[in-house]
């Protein structure tokens, strides 16, 4: 496999096709980690995962171990999870409370929860050295910038670059709709995420979120069989839970064409503009009244009538606003991606809502899910199939139009692969800022 730099990596993306090395090459993966995941805004966690001062939560920004921690001033900080001394990870467990400071288990260097150096044992050993003039002498390093958007914590690793608002723009309307569905206007994490390991490239998962031509094919074995079983039972009401959650995956092409796809600049987009597979859920008693009390009837209806399907926030998360779910596609290597699927409780809403979201999560997103099984099967077959030298390009041409302009919001036929092309357009843009003068990004090469 050839070696790549940013210039040649960007040549792997054409308007209607991408070269398979974007999914298989270690070089390209390392360039993505160094540029795309450094220059964009990456999801870290939810602020309810660290509700009290000193609470922390460990995760990854792609291959970078980081800590989300609540500091003594109640602000959330995101720090690289390594001791500035010898590199030891400071926090090992997934979550906990560290009190007023972190303490490295190796040599007991300690740090305030904003990362600043607090103390070093036997500090006289550094007298006359220039430790205090080094970056390591200052403490644990923080990421370049962070943003708490309605409880969802995002970070940009690069010190300078595109602002949060400019990066996400109109796409924030999906997070808004998800949070607005809580009568109290805030969400809380409901338990740990499902963790599902995929032996495939992370981009396959992100692309699949707006791939509306696969459900009735890949998921016929689960959704189609559910429809058949229910029919054999005489279609009894109330319908089994699976008929609400899984059966809509068998909706015909015409349905998915009609619901539409919207794309926003910088690689964001969503399926389900006019409705979605989440529209036809049973209503939850008492919920609408609580929404009306909180927002008034007009606004409550407006919030609940928006039933977007999957919203992709480039580069690597997906939000299901009507269900209060977020999936984090964490790249671990060119052929390895950890998927963490979270459920959030809309605060002030009846428990039935979070119960439905938890049900959806285990039926669709779990390593034990019949739907997940067939998705993973096709991704892993693709990862293996892409090693074939017979054809080197991957086609993303469905409903392609000449001169597509991704810098403007657009709504298209719901079976378009435009959102996949939008993601690759953004991939080039943030891989190689010099190719694009609109971003104001720092040169990281």
């Amino acid at each position: 496999m050839p070696s790549y730099n940013v210039e040649t990596a960007c040549d792997l993306v054409q308007e209607h096709q991408v070269h398979r090395d974007v999914y298989t090459s270690l070089d390209v993966f390392q360039l993505e980690m160094k540029h795309v995941f450094r220059n964009t805004w990456i999801f870290i966690g939810h602020d309810s995962q660290t509700p009290n001062k000193g609470d922390y939560f460990t995760t990854q920004v792609a291959d970078q171990p980081v800590i989300q921690v609540r500091h003594s001033d109640d602000e959330i900080h995101v720090l690289y999870n390594r001791c500035p001394h010898k590199g030891t990870k400071i926090a090992i467990d997934r979550q906990g409370n560290t009190g007023k400071f972190f303490r490295c288990p190796y040599h007991a260097w300690s740090f305030k929860t904003d990362g600043c150096l607090l103390a070093i044992p036997l500090k006289k050993g550094y007298q006359g050295t220039s430790l205090d003039q080094t970056e390591n002498g200052r403490g644990m390093k923080a990421v370049g910038a962070i943003k708490n958007y309605r409880g969802f914590i995002f970070a940009r690793l690069a010190e300078t670059g595109i602002s949060f608002e400019d990066f996400f723009g109109g796409s924030l309307s999906s997070i808004d709709n998800m949070v607005d569905r809580a009568p109290e206007g805030r969400m809380e994490v409901a338990g740990p995420p499902l963790r599902y390991m995929h032996k495939c490239n992370w981009k396959m998962l992100v692309e699949n979120q707006t791939d509306t031509c696969h459900p009735m094919v890949a998921h016929e074995s689960s959704a189609g069989t559910a429809v058949k079983l229910w029919g054999e039972m005489g279609n009894p009401e109330p319908r089994p839970a699976a008929m609400q959650i899984i059966a809509p995956f068998m909706s015909p092409y015409e349905f998915f064409e009609g619901i539409g796809i919207r794309t926003w600049p910088n690689g964001h987009g969503h399926t389900g503009v006019t409705g979605s597979i989440h529209t036809d859920y049973d209503s939850v008693p008492g919920y609408f009244d609580k929404m009306v009390s909180a927002y008034g009837e007009t606004r409550a209806k407006e919030i609940l009538d928006e039933n977007r399907h999957n919203t992709v926030y480039f580069p690597n998360i997906m939000v299901k606003a009507p269900l209060g779910q977020l999936r984090n596609f964490i790249p671990m290597g060119p052929d390895k991606c950890l998927v963490e699927s979270y459920v959030y409780r809309p605060v002030g809403a009846p428990d039935e809502l979070v119960a439905r979201s938890a049900m959806y999560n285990r039926m669709i997103n779990a390593p034990t899910s019949m739907v997940g099984h067939d998705d993973l099967e096709v991704y892993e077959r693709a990862q293996e199939g892409l090693m074939s030298n017979g054809l080197e390009w991957v086609n993303i041409q469905r409903l392609y139009e000449d001169d597509e302009n991704f810098e403007v919001e657009a709504v298209e036929n719901g079976t378009s692969e435009r959102q996949m092309r939008n993601q690759f357009n953004a991939w080039v843009k943030f891989m190689h800022p010099e190719r694009d003068t609109t971003t104001g990004l720092e040169g990281t090469e």
């Binding site: 740990p192 074995s221 069989t225 089994p240």
Partner: protein, 160 residues
Amino acid sequence: MIAPSRDDLIDFIYAEVRMLDEGRFGEWIDLWMPEGHYWMPLDYKQSDPVNVTSYLYEDNFMLRLRVERLKGERTFSQKPKSRCSHVIQRPFVDEYNPGANHYVTNTSMHYVETRLDEQQLLALSATHELTVFDGAIRIANKRVDLLNCDAAFGNIQLLP
């Protein structure tokens, strides 16, 4: 059947895992009371199956769907099919209450699932709530706790 003996309950657990190992899923489904749930928690010592995520909390329809799907021509993740093997310890009979027709067993086991070149080993404990219905022992509920429930898994396609 009058009240089952402790040995009857233990034999039932052995017979159940043998059905799963031999792929006799149709027979296995018939072991269930219709209102029973198969629960596999996500979190260690999880107490709530409903309002937080689990791996599985399957009602009878979902279990039937799972079994039916395994037979399908277009069940791509089962081409070729997975196989499994349970190695179980002698079950504990933790509750033996013929008066209430309610029995609880707890069984430690090693569950191996394989497909193509992959094989995975799960250590787990299974808690069965059993009852006698129509003269036979039936599963009222089953809970499976994975020892490494907090690990990231690839596909787990059959049932421990």
